[in-house]
């Protein structure tokens, strides 16, 4: 890779690339983890570690299995009847694909933001309070506080504080996506999964979400799937490159984008395919 490109890319990194990430404790770890859709192996024996408090980006061409891997972490793939998993997915020392795992309580600990804003057709307040109410919080004051703090965390409080009772579907796409983020945060998860969270948004709304990711870094382990390479470079500490279900390369974002070890990674990043 040419020196000029290296320099240009390097300027855009989040600025926390010097740390040795391997020292951070692992939050989620996959061991020979595979996902099958019927007979098709969408994720192939992936070994990967997501470290606590860091932002990990997953990149790769369409259909490479990155979304599938992401959705495997909170077992959203269970919704697809033909889907099953092999290998181990260790979350805080426990394999979450063990038979006796309570999926519902797992999902409370792993929040998720989806590709398209999927607010409920309810009021803004009820959207945020949905998760806490599930956990049995009924006290109005407590709920009010949670709603406020979540909305503030998602940097949307000032925009909506006067119309908490109005329908969430009346907001713009970018606002809706931040509301979804706030809704996920209200459950107080440990991990935040983001499945191409800005692909349906305009650049301005995208920038806001990216800012938010920067602010949330450290408090949550964030795993983000993105098609946008610049985005991955801007927001993440670590990057995983997947290709046809295989984890091709995994490492510090700066290193992946400047000195990729694998030829495939370099080709993808420089735009030769994908």
């Amino acid at each position: 890779m040419s020196e000029a490109i290296q320099m240009k890319r390097a300027d855009r990194f989040a600025g926390h690339g010097e740390e040795d990430f391997s020292l951070r404790p692992a939050h989620v770890k996959t061991e020979e983890f595979s996902v099958f859709y019927g007979g098709f192996e969408a994720v192939k024996k992936v070994n990967c570690t997501f470290h606590e408090g860091l932002v990990t980006a997953m990149i790769g061409p369409s259909g490479c299995g990155k979304s599938t891997l992401l959705r495997a972490i909170n077992r959203m793939n269970d919704l697809i009847p033909s889907c099953r998993a092999g290998g181990k997915m260790i979350f805080q020392g426990e394999d979450i694909y063990r038979k006796d795992i309570d999926v519902v309580s797992l999902r409370m600990r792993v929040g998720m933001v989806f590709q398209k804003p999927n607010v409920f057709p309810k009021s803004i307040y009820d959207n945020i309070a949905y998760g806490p109410r599930l956990q049995g919080i009924k006290n109005r004051n407590q709920l009010d506080e949670l709603v406020e703090s979540s909305l503030k965390q998602a940097a949307i409080w000032d925009e909506v504080k006067d119309r908490l009772e109005s329908n969430a579907l009346g907001m713009s796409g970018g606002q809706q996506q931040r509301l979804c983020l706030a809704r996920a945060l209200a459950v107080k998860p440990e991990i935040l999964l983001m499945d191409e969270p800005t692909s349906a948004l305009d650049p301005k709304a995208t920038a806001k979400i990216e800012d938010l990711i920067g602010q949330l870094r450290g408090q949550y382990t964030i795993i983000i799937v993105t098609h946008n390479m610049q985005q991955a470079a801007r927001v993440s500490d670590l990057t995983a490159f997947l290709y046809e279900g295989t984890l091709v390369e995994f490492g510090a974002t700066r290193q992946i984008f400047t000195k990729p070890l694998e030829k495939q990674t370099e080709d993808y990043i420089t735009g030769r395919f994908g």
Binding site: V104, F114, N118, F120, P121, L134, R183
Partner: protein, 448 residues
């Protein structure tokens, strides 16, 4: 394809569509016009003094003083008629027996026709049948009865080899030169003061019990029966249908059993309603004995089976139309399946479910065959809600059929038939309008 061809195709198709819609509108108008025009005739019509008498005698309606004056005026106008009859009687008695004979039958006919027009002659014994206790209550019937007084209907078979021809022969010809001759002219000229027609809005038609098997009175028990049957059917069908739909959409794992179940549901939707009726009789009444006789309960159960497939289908469709994203969002927040259904999926599917429900409600209200053997009787009183468990009831669809085919005096009750049809159509229409409005309101609320 050339641009000209494409344009031609588009134009041809759009005009075809327009024609189809125009035809549909035409058919609708052709159907609805008589229903509305004649149906309203059961409520709004020119009522004679006989109607007012009936209302007062049977339901104590109306101002007694006014009615008394009304009656007096009518009696005064009718007095000459009875005077002429009495005079003619005297004239007959004075005649030799042989001369008397040819007048006997025509006189009897005239008296019968007069009774039907004016009611029983004052001072005679009150007839047992209520229909003979009053004259013509409606102005349209008055016209018919008047014709019967003035003309006798005879058949002319003089042309051999051809069908007979109906001839209306003036009755006055029978009484030429007698004291009865002026009667016909008098009746024709004074029909107004004798009957005293007045425009009336008989809204109680909807609530009154019928008297003398629908000759007089309204359709109250029928309307109430229809309401009971429909609500009863919904009571069974909606919870079962919605639960089944939720199970099929959210819980069932696709497989042979489920496919088979779906086929069964589709088939059930296509079964003729008379089969449901017979099944209801065989199963609910003869096998598990939900009641000793036909009953609203048995009818409701049968109707609910009939509309169950529709409810399931509509609910399924509505549930499947809920964006997957809602479900994913709820699950990702740690919601269980049941909780997701209750808090996210059902509220979002509610407009669709509601529409399906109300449309099937309209169907249940209008179905005849399933209730023939299980719930319906031709004449009855309004039931109390608890009686519905064990008692049969009259109901609009069945009574429309019954009144049109089996009533002994069909001509006398045409207005009742049309009134029933009008009421039924209006009820179904109102239900559908209600469904549309509700759907719009809930959708709007959901869309924000």
């Amino acid at each position: 394809m050339r641009l000209g061809t494409r344009r031609l195709l588009d134009r041809a198709f759009s005009s075809l569509g327009l024609i189809a819609i125009g035809l549909m509108a035409l058919v609708l108008i052709v159907i609805l016009t008589p229903i509305v025009s004649k149906g309203t005739g059961a409520f709004v019509f020119r009522a004679t003094v006989e109607h007012r008498k009936l209302m007062f005698d049977q339901w104590s309606r109306g101002n007694p003083e006014k009615l008394e004056k009304d009656k007096e005026a009518a009696v005064a106008a009718r007095a000459p008629v009875y005077q002429m009859l009495a005079d003619f009687d005297a004239e007959l008695k004075a005649m030799p027996r042989a001369d008397r004979a040819p007048y006997k039958q025509p006189l009897r006919d005239v008296e019968k026709a007069l009774n039907e027009l004016l009611g029983p002659e004052p001072g005679t014994r009150t007839p047992v049948l209520m229909r003979q206790q009053y004259g013509a209550t409606r102005w349209d019937r008055t016209q018919v009865k008047l014709q019967n007084v003035l003309y006798s209907e005879e058949w002319d078979y003089s042309k051999t080899g051809e069908l007979g021809v109906k001839v209306m022969r003036p009755r006055v010809e029978d009484f030429k030169g007698t004291k009865l001759e002026p009667l016909f002219g008098y009746v024709k000229a004074n029909i107004d003061p004798m009957m005293r027609p007045r425009w009336t809005f008989y809204w109680q038609f909807l609530f009154d019990t019928s008297k003398d098997s629908h000759i007089f009175g309204g359709i109250g028990p029928e309307v109430l029966g229809t309401i009971y049957l429909t609500l009863g059917a919904m009571l069974f069908a909606v919870p079962m249908g919605v639960i089944a739909a939720i199970y099929l959409c959210e819980y069932a794992r696709e497989g042979r059993v489920i496919s088979f179940l779906r086929i069964c549901i589709s088939t059930l939707a296509g079964v003729p309603s008379i089969v449901f009726g017979l099944f209801g009789l065989a199963f609910f009444l003869n096998t598990i004995h939900v009641s000793d006789s036909k009953s609203v309960l048995a009818g409701s159960l049968t109707l609910s089976l009939l509309i169950l497939p529709t409810v399931i289908r509509a609910s399924e469709e509505a549930i499947l139309a809920v964006p997957r994203a809602y479900k994913e969002a709820a699950l990702s927040l740690g919601s269980g399946r049941w909780h997701t259904v209750m808090t996210v999926i059902l509220p979002a599917a509610l407009p669709g479910i509601l529409t399906g429900t109300v449309i099937s409600m309209g169907r249940a209200a209008g179905e005849t065959a399933p209730i023939i053997f299980t719930a319906a009787v031709s004449v009855g009183r309004p039931l109390l809600p608890l009686e519905a468990l064990s008692q049969p009831t009259p109901a609009l669809p069945w009574n429309i059929y019954n009144l049109c085919t089996e009533h002994e005096a069909v001509d006398e009750i045409r207005h009742v038939q049309y009134g029933m049809v009008f009421t039924l159509v209006a009820v179904v229409l109102l239900l559908n309008v209600f469904a549309i409005v509700m759907r719009a309101r809930i959708s709007k609320k959901l869309r924000g």
